[in-house]
Symmetry: C2
DNA sequence: CTTGGATATGAACGTGCGTTCAGTTAGCGT
DNA sequence: ACGCTAACTGAACGCACGTTCATATCCAAG
């Protein structure tokens, strides 16, 4: 048999990516075989190679696409006065990452499974995102709106604490995502001394 | 051949753990084979089973021992007034994790490679550690020394940002570990409003 | 109605996996 | 000097891996 039903190309490609994303996030890149991905999609393993050159590229493209989408989406946070931009960034980062737990998990956990060349590309995209926040802090400090011990260190600290939300937040818990955004913004604002003093 | 040199039992056991720790941290549990671990130690794969029941238990014990050591080591941070305890905790967490990058990496990245039973044990130990900080914050809030939006959320945020140091800090960078400890303590202190106001 | 390209199958390639175990050696206690 | 046992080897088990490829089928266009 071959092509047991109608034309599938525009369906199968995305389905492969979705299945790989789910499985990589759940079990890890190294633990997921091409045959398992294929079964999830409903084809034989060989058919996957009509859509991807190899397993490594599949992983790389998932991570790259995620980070490119992240860069596009953060754009609107880059306008206005520094404190407003920072607040927008905090809320954005939490919401964006919450909406994509699998992509985020993969982007953080599977870096070491990239070939050196692919790793360099992904790492570059990550650094660019970190610099977005660092520059935001830098501008705020220059304006006298923020005070931090070190702009780069503060940006790493903030990103780490924001990304950490994904490890514990559950939709059905006692807090809504909005609550969490409020709380994190309050903590970040205090951390960078927005307004030069602590908000009550 | 067998036992090509003198008695090795008390040497080989720890060497297996060290090798596994290094390799698991570098390449991931699923990507490291028993044969590779054995080669690193200088024995055949079969010999490993004189020291460990199986690969899964090797991973589990690495994580468990790390977390038990963490609990023992955090003890001294639990005395004194709340602000002093929190400062001690911040400095301790950074230093302890910095000294054990491989253990930390494994403990965070390989959770999904544990069997459900082992996962439950490890997760329990992690939660206990998180509760140490949460109770510290709770006490500080009760005393009026701290102010946070939510004690549990704040503890997750603080632990995430502290653990994040391991992802970027390099011994040979422009900052010493002491610098970083100072900066993070300053940021955390502001975040929980130590003293009810922002330290300059 | 024919045809050609898109889409998929299923077998096969060589390799490596975790684990077991009978056999072999080295060094200790006596 | 010698046996005992701890320590290790090396082969073997069945299975799964990523990838390739000849082949088969389906659909759209002419």
């Amino acid at each position: 048999m071959a092509r047991t039903q109608g034309s599938h190309a525009q369906i199968t490609g995305p389905r492969i990516r979705k299945a790989a994303q789910r499985l990589f996030a759940q079990q890890g890149y190294a633990a997921v075989s091409m045959r398992v991905i294929a079964r999830e999609v409903g084809v034989q393993a060989g058919a996957l190679y009509n859509y991807i050159p190899d397993k490594q590229t599949l992983l790389y493209e998932l991570m790259r696409d995620h980070l490119l989408e992240l860069h596009e989406a953060v754009g609107p946070c880059l306008v206005g006065p520094a404190p407003a931009r920072l607040e927008a960034f905090v809320r954005f980062h939490i919401a964006f990452h919450h909406a994509r737990p699998e992509e985020v998990f993969i982007a953080y956990m599977e870096l070491r499974n990239l070939t050196p060349a692919n790793f360099a590309e992904i790492e570059g995209l990550r650094r660019r995102y970190e610099r977005v926040l660092a520059q935001m802090l830098h501008a705020g400090v220059r304006e006298g709106a923020f005070s931090v011990p070190d702009e780069k260190v503060a940006s790493m600290a903030i990103i780490a604490m924001l990304t950490g939300v994904n490890t514990w937040f559950r939709e059905d818990g006692r807090l809504s995502l909005g609550d969490v955004q409020d709380m994190y913004w309050q903590m970040v604002a205090r951390m960078v001394s927005v307004g030069g003093t602590v908000p009550s």
